[in-house]
Symmetry: C2
Subunit: 270 residues, 2 copies
């Protein structure tokens, strides 16, 4: 029997009445839900706000009523800071997002802080960099590591927006789960943590790493750059190391080996 | 004929279809509307978000379509900074509001910045301190200067939440209008300005100033302190002085003289 058969699943809109059974008797809420992506959020910011922000504010009111102890929220280390003035980016960096997705994540952070400070409901915010992992859905317009390995393994061309020099911070989902679990028992004075590898690599370097592993060249199609892609985004993770006793355990090289092994055992998905 | 008979008045919800006639052919939008107050916003944050934030985001999309050149927005110098770590507060101070009103004002600022930076619609944000003036509505739960002078003139007791030591920055509406007009033609690189007196006085000192002017004692009823009232909030206005060429022209003493003169000519309103 798989482990998840022991989990009680409730499907409901964030904050809707139908979400109540999931909160009954719960100590901790891991808020990982999002209805939009950085790349699409600017096209309909009202939907972005209604589904994510308003839904979360409703959910927080319910969570308070149900006596939930703590909410642990996945925010976006890649978008809340906007155009970085310094890399690696510390948590104290100004927050001026250049996409609606980043604004709604930031605003949810502010409501969590409001509840936290007024002693209504305790919370921890994790500003996570670019997550990847073997079970990542490929139906969504995000996840360079997953898309690239999947296509490279099946000898399909990779698409890159811009010239491939933009630099990002990639973190394996196992390390993010570790940070989530450490957030459950955290009792220090901080409220918000960057969670990433602390290292930046360019999209072209990512392709190089995949080529090394496959021991062959990969075809790349370069497309026009996008307005919301900043040149570099890498997170300063020293606060999480110091306060949560967390650090990333899986290098990108190790992670790519796992991604390639899984992709090789599957048919092409995209 | 009063000057306002030359103004075309359109009453409509923010961002609703019925607001379109007001935008047709307009160069500048002064966005001064708000459906909530700092003191009441925490009781229904969903209403706060729906009416102010979602309404504004809809309005910005319309304004872009109508070719509006600039939006000038009144934000809240008293709430966006949360508990000040330093006074006077510069614009670069962290923004962690402790009321929903401050969060929605801050989030509107972020959407204005998003439009500004993506070259969709230009904007200027004024983070204004506590505004007072002779025509301020007394039906609303804000405006210490207006409420205090009105009640003192008519020999009614003044109510103070807390012990009266909280310090605030008061600015006369004429000075705010001056800042709005200077924002119309501003062409520098800044986007956001504190607008206040730059001086802080306590509620008890405010009562003292009124007593001096009336040359008699005023009865004060002290009530329990409120969770969202920070001990001190005074704005650093050096950026507005330098960039907008603006500075406050009316001292609180002059302003109080005007408020008392007007209140004396009226019947008690509250």
């Amino acid at each position: 029997m798989p482990w998840w058969s022991a989990v009680e699943w409730v499907s409901a809109d964030l904050g809707a009445e139908t979400s109540s059974p999931a909160m009954l008797g719960a100590d901790i809420i891991f808020h990982l839900a999002s209805s939009t992506y950085p790349s699409t959020s600017n096209s309909d910011p009202v939907f972005d706000l209604q589904s994510n922000l308003v839904g979360t504010v409703r959910m927080l009111a319910k969570a308070t009523d149900y006596g939930v102890r703590r909410v642990i929220f996945i925010s976006s280390g890649g978008t809340v800071y906007g155009v970085p003035r310094v890399n690696p980016i510390p948590e104290t960096h100004p927050t001026d997002p250049i996409c609606s997705y980043g604004i709604q994540k930031l605003t949810i952070e502010k409501y969590l802080y409001l509840h936290h400070i007024l002693n209504r409901l305790n919370s921890v915010v994790l500003r996570v960099s670019n997550i990847y992992g073997e079970l990542q859905s490929l139906d969504r317009p995000l996840g360079a590591v997953s898309h690239f390995t999947q296509r490279a393994v099946h000898q399909e061309p990779i698409e890159i927006w811009g010239d491939g020099t933009i630099r990002r911070d990639y973190i394996h989902v196992d390390d993010v789960v570790d940070a989530l679990m450490k957030s459950v028992s955290y009792t220090g004075n901080e409220h918000l943590f960057n969670i990433g590898s602390g290292l930046s690599i360019s999209l072209n370097q990512l392709v190089d790493l995949i080529e090394e592993r496959l021991q062959r060249e990969v075809v790349v199609n370069y497309k026009p750059a996008r307005s919301f892609d900043v040149p570099e985004n890498v997170l300063d993770i020293s606060r999480a190391e110091r306060e949560l006793g967390w650090k990333p355990g899986m290098s990108l090289e190790m992670g790519l080996d796992r991604m390639i092994r899984v992709a090789s055992a599957q048919r092409l998905k995209i």
